[in-house]
C-alpha cells in the first residue's frame, strides 16, 4: 500500500509528518524549518507559498493571503465583523467566499490546496516517492461544511484524503504512543485561529473521546490583534497617524505585535519598534508581560467556558482528569498555562513540541489506516448536534453532540397532499432551538412517487462517517428502492466545482513548477550568500585584498540575479561565487588545521 502522510493544515503554520519505523517524524525541506507558514502570495513570478510568501505580507499586503483557514466553509456574512482586518479583498460567489488575487479569484479550499501542495512536494522530495494519500487534521469543533471544505482542498491538491481527524485527538495519539498512558486526559488546544478542548479516556490502546467543545474563532491571531489595536491607537495619539490606510504598515504592526507576544512568553518586558510611513520617524514602546496579560485575559477566560461544558458533557469533575496535555503554539503563553492548571488542578504536559504534536498524531493515524499500527484505535465524536428543520422553524435533533462516530439516525418521511412528488429537507447543525439560529448544512428534495397523502414512506438515513462528515441515503419502504440524493451544500463547493478546480490546478501546475524552481534557487542563493559573508568576516584577513574584492563582486552579481526570475541565472552566479571563494575556503581550512595542530605531536594526527 502506498504511503499515507499526516498533515496539520494550520491557521498560521502547516506541517507534514510520516511514520518512520513506528516513530512519527515531521518533514523539513533543505535549509528550512519543518513549519510552513500558511501564507500564499501572488508575485510577479506567480503564486508562492510559505516562508518566501510571508515576506510579502508587508511588501505586498493586498496580494498576500494568510489565515485562510478562518474562511473555510464560511460565507461572507459569517466573517463580516473581521473583514476590516484583512488587507486582501474578499467577495462571494454561490455561498462560497472568494479571495481576489490580481486578475483571478480563489476559493479558500483552493488557497489551502496550494499550501497542501507545498507540503506534498516537500514530502515527495524527502521520501523520494510520489505521495497521493493523506490524513489531514481539523479543529475538533469544525462543522460539516468546514470539514468538507478541508477535504475539497486535499482533492484540489491532488491528495486522496483518507481521513479527516480532529487536532486534539491527533495530539492525544502522539502522546499516547509515547507515554502509553491510561486514564482520563484533557487536551487543551489553542492554535493560531481556533480553540478546542477534548476529554478522552485511554484504555488498552483505545482512545475514546468522551466530549469535545471549542471555539473556531479563538486563537493566537486574536491576541495579536489586541496588541496591534493598542499600538495603532497609541500611534494615532502620539503621531496623529491613522495607519489603517496603509495596508503594508498595518501588516508590519500585526507582525511586530505577534513577535512581541512571543518574546513575552520568555521575558517579562520587551520593546516594540515600528518605522512610520513616509519617513515620519519611529514609534517605540515598552510592553510588559503584565500589560499583555491584561489585554488577553478576557480571551483566555473565554476558552475556559468550553472546558467546563466538555467536562459537564462527559459527566466528570476537574478532579477526575488524570492528565492535561497542551497543544498549539498559543499554549506557550504563561497566562494560558496558569489558567489551565488552575482549572484542572494539575500541571499540564508539554513534553512534545506543541507546534508539531498534531502533525505527528496525524502520521500515527495514517499508519493505523495503512495497517502499520494495529494496537491503537481512536473513537472520536461529532462536536455538534445534527438535525432537520421541522414545522414552525424548529430544529429536531437526530444525532446529539458528543455521539461516537460513525453515527447514524433514521427518519421516516411521508406526504401531506395527494400526489405530492417531493419533500424538502433542510439539514442543520448546532445546539440552538430554532432552525435559523443553527448552521444550515444543506437542503435537498426527496423524490416521492405521486400517491395519496400519507401513503409514501421514505426512510432517510443520516450517517456521520469517521471523518465527521455527513452522508445521506434514502430508501422507499414500499418498493425497497434506494435513491441517490443530490445535496447542495449551503456553504460549500458542489462536486462539479471541485472537479473544475482540480482541472485548473493541473493547468497551472506547469507555472507552479517554474515558480518553485525560482524560489528554490533563491533560497539556495540566500544560504550561500550568508555562509560566504560569514567566511569573509571570519577569514577575510587570510587572503589578498584583490581576492576579497573579487568575492564581493561575485556576491553582488548573485544578489542582483536573485532579484530576477531566471533560476538558471541564479544557479550560474552561485557557481561563479563558489569559484571566486574557493581560495578563501581553502585558506580557512588550512588555518583551522594549523590552529588544531598547534601543541600536538605528529603521532597524534597521523
Amino acid at each position: 500500500m502506498a504511503r499515507i502522510v499526516g498533515i496539520d493544515l494550520g491557521t498560521t503554520n502547516s506541517l507534514v509528518a510520516y511514520m518512520d519505523n513506528g516513530t512519527p517524524r515531521v518533514i523539513s525541506a533543505r535549509h528550512e524549518r519543518a513549519m510552513v507558514p500558511s501564507v500564499v502570495a501572488l508575485t510577479d513570478n506567480g503564486l508562492i507559498v510559505g516562508d518566501p510568501a510571508k515576506e510579502h505580507l508587508t511588501r505586498n499586503p493586498e496580494r498576500t493571503v494568510y489565515s485562510v483557514k478562518r474562511f473555510m466553509g464560511k460565507s461572507l456574512a459569517d466573517v463580516q465583523g473581521e473583514l476590516a482586518y484583512f488587507p486582501y479583498t474578499l467577495t462571494e460567489k454561490g455561498g462560497v467566499i472568494r479571495i481576489q488575487l490580481g486578475e483571478k479569484s480563489y476559493s479558500p479550499p483552493q488557497i489551502s490546496a496550494m499550501i497542501l501542495k507545498e507540503l506534498k512536494l516537500r514530502a515527495e522530495a524527502f521520501l523520494g516517492e510520489s505521495i497521493t494519500k493523506a490524513v489531514i487534521t481539523v479543529p475538533a469543533y469544525f462543522n460539516d461544511s468546514q470539514r468538507q471544505a478541508t477535504k475539497d482542498a486535499g482533492m484540489i491538491a491532488g491528495l486522496e484524503v483518507l481521513r479527516i481527524i480532529n487536532e486534539p485527538t491527533a495530539a492525544s495519539l502522539a502522546y499516547g504512543l509515547q507515554e502509553k498512558t491510561q486514564g482520563t486526559i484533557a487536551v487543551y488546544d489553542l492554535g493560531g485561529g481556533t480553540f478546542d478542548i477534548s476529554i478522552l479516556k485511554l484504555k488498552n490502546g483505545i482512545f475514546e473521546v468522551l466530549a469535545t467543545n471549542g471555539d473556531t474563532h479563538l486563537g493566537g491571531d486574536d491576541f495579536d490583534q489586541l496588541v496591534a489595536d493598542l499600538l495603532l491607537k497609541e500611534i494615532r495619539a502620539q503621531h496623529g497617524l491613522d495607519l489603517s490606510t496603509h495596508p503594508d504598515h498595518m501588516q508590519a504592526v500585526r507582525l511586530q505585535a505577534e513577535r512581541a507576544k512571543i518574546r513575552l512568553s520568555e521575558e517579562l518586558k520587551t520593546t516594540v519598534t515600528l518605522d512610520l510611513p513616509d519617513g515620519q520617524g519611529r514609534f517605540t514602546r515598552e510592553l510588559t508581560r503584565d500589560q499583555l496579560e491584561g489585554l488577553c485575559n478576557a480571551l483566555v477566560e473565554r476558552s475556559l467556558g468550553p472546558c467546563r461544558l466538555a467536562l459537564k458533557d462527559s459527566g466528570l469533575n476537574p478532579t477526575d482528569i488524570d492528565e492535561v496535555v497542551l497543544v498549539g503554539g498559543s499554549t506557550r503563553m504563561p497566562l494560558v498555562r496558569q489558567r489551565v492548571q488552575a482549572l484542572f488542578g494539575k500541571e499540564p504536559h508539554c513534553e512534545l513540541n506543541p507546534d508539531e504534536v498534531v502533525a505527528l498524531g496525524a502520521a500515527v493515524q495514517a499508519d493505523i489506516l495503512s495497517g502499520g499500527t494495529t494496537d491503537m484505535l481512536l473513537l472520536d465524536v461529532t462536536p455538534l448536534s445534527l438535525g432537520i428543520e421541522t414545522m414552525g422553524g424548529v430544529m429536531s435533533s437526530l444525532i446529539r453532540r458528543n455521539t461516537t462516530i460513525p453515527a447514524s439516525a433514521k427518519e421516516m418521511f411521508t406526504t401531506y397532499v395527494d400526489g405530492q412528488t417531493g419533500v424538502d429537507i433542510h439539514i442543520l447543525q448546532g445546539e440552538r432551538e430554532l432552525a435559523k439560529d443553527n448552521r444550515s448544512l444543506a437542503r435537498f428534495r426527496l423524490k416521492v412517487p405521486p400517491l395519496p397523502a400519507g401513503v409514501p414512506r421514505i426512510e432517510v438515513t443520516f450517517l456521520i462517517d469517521a471523518n465527521g462528515i455527513l452522508n445521506v441515503m434514502a430508501k422507499d419502504m414500499r418498493t425497497g428502492e434506494t435513491q441517490s440524493i443530490e445535496v447542495k451544500p449551503s456553504y460549500g463547493l458542489s462536486d462539479q466545482e471541485v472537479e473544475r478546480m482540480i482541472e485548473d490546478s493541473f493547468k497551472f501546475a506547469a507555472d507552479d513548477v517554474s515558480a518553485r524552481k525560482v524560489i528554490e534557487a533563491r533560497l539556495d542563493a540566500g544560504a550561500l550568500m550568508t555562509t560566504t559573508e560569514k567566511s569573509l568576516a571570519d577569514g577575510g584577513h587570510l587572503v589578498a585584498a584583490e581576492e576579497v574584492a573579487t568575492i564581493r563582486t561575485a556576491l553582488s552579481a548573485l544578489a542582483s540575479a536573485k532579484e530576477g526570475t531566471d533560476p538558471r541565472a541564479i544557479r550560474g552566479r552561485m557557481a561563479d561565487l563558489e569559484q571566486a571563494a574557493k581560495g578563501l575556503t581553502v585558506a580557512m581550512l588550512d588555518d583551522s588545521l594549523k590552529q588544531g595542530l598547534q601543541g600536538k605531536k605528529i603521532s597524534d594526527v597521523t
Partner: protein, 238 residues
C-alpha cells in the same frame, strides 16, 4: 456532504435473512465474520442490543463487561481497519460501527437501557406526559408562575433576585425528586430482573410483572417530565 447509494443493501439483507455469507454464499455459523471466507457480515437489524453485546436481557448489567465488549467489537468493526478492503466491506464496517455506537450509548445509560428493554419486552414505555404528575401538580403550577414573573422582571431588580433565590430552591428540590425517582427505579429494576431470572409462568408472577412494569412506566415518564422542567428552569436563570 456526499450523496450515496447503496443498491447492494437489499441483496445483502436478503442473504442475511437466509443466514448466508454475502460474499461466499456459504452457510453462516460465525457471529460477525464468515467462518469460510473471513469476511465481515452486516449485523442483522433484528439483533437486539443485549444479544449484540452478549449480555442477558436485564435492567442491571455489568458496565465493565459492556465497555470491554464495546472496545472488542469496535476493534472488529471500525472503518480504520477496512481502509484496504472492498467497497462492500467498507460499507458493512461503517454500518456495523454506527449500529454498535448506538447500542453502546443506549445500554450504557441505565434510564435509556430501561426504556429500550421495556420496549423490547412489553412495547413502547414512554408516555409523553403533557401535564404534571399528580403529586407535583401544585408545586409545578407555582413554579411556572415564578418562571413567568422572572422572565418579565428586570434582571437587576431586587424582585428578580428574590425570584432567582426561590427558583434556585425549587431547582434543588426538583433535582432531589429526580434522584428519588431514580433510586426507586433502581429497586424496581432489581425486582424485575429477579422475576425474569425465576422465569415463572404463574398467574401470580404475571400479575407482579405487570405491576412492576406499570410502576416503572409511571416513574420513567414522571422523571422525563421533571427533567424537562429542570432544564427549562436552568436555561431561564442562567
Amino acid at each position: 456532504m456526499n450523496g450515496h447509494t447503496h443498491n447492494t443493501d437489499d441483496r445483502r439483507e436478503l442473504q442475511m435473512a437466509r443466514s448466508m455469507c454475502w460474499h461466499c454464499q456459504s452457510e453462516m455459523a460465525g457471529e460477525y465474520f464468515c467462518d469460510r471466507c473471513v469476511k465481515v457480515q452486516p449485523v442483522s437489524k433484528d439483533l437486539d442490543y443485549f444479544t449484540c453485546f452478549g449480555l442477558p436481557r436485564r435492567l442491571v448489567i455489568d458496565t465493565q463487561v459492556l465497555e470491554a465488549k464495546f472496545y472488542e467489537l469496535s476493534r472488529a468493526f471500525h472503518p480504520d481497519f477496512y481502509q484496504n478492503k472492498s467497497d462492500a466491506e467498507q460499507s458493512i464496517s461503517l454500518g456495523n460501527s454506527a449500529m454498535l455506537n448506538t447500542a453502546y450509548r443506549t445500554l450504557r445509560d441505565p434510564i435509556q437501557r430501561a426504556e429500550y428493554l421495556l420496549d423490547l419486552e412489553a412495547g413502547a414505555v414512554k408516555d409523553i406526559r403533557t401535564s404534571p404528575p399528580a403529586d407535583l401538580f401544585e408545586e409545578i403550577l407555582e413554579l411556572q408562575e415564578t418562571l413567568d414573573e422572572f422572565r418579565e422582571s428586570n434582571r437587576a431588580s431586587e424582585q428578580a433576585s428574590t425570584l432567582r433565590a426561590k427558583l434556585d430552591a425549587d431547582r434543588t428540590n426538583l433535582e432531589e425528586r429526580q434522584r428519588d425517582m431514580e433510586a426507586r427505579l433502581q429497586q424496581l429494576f432489581s425486582r424485575w430482573d429477579t422475576l425474569q431470572d425465576r422465569g415463572e409462568a404463574t398467574e401470580q408472577a404475571r400479575t407482579e410483572r405487570n405491576h412492576i412494569l406499570k410502576d416503572m412506566r409511571d416513574i420513567l415518564s414522571n422523571r422525563t417530565y421533571v427533567k424537562n422542567i429542570v432544564n427549562d428552569l436552568v436555561a431561564t436563570i442562567s
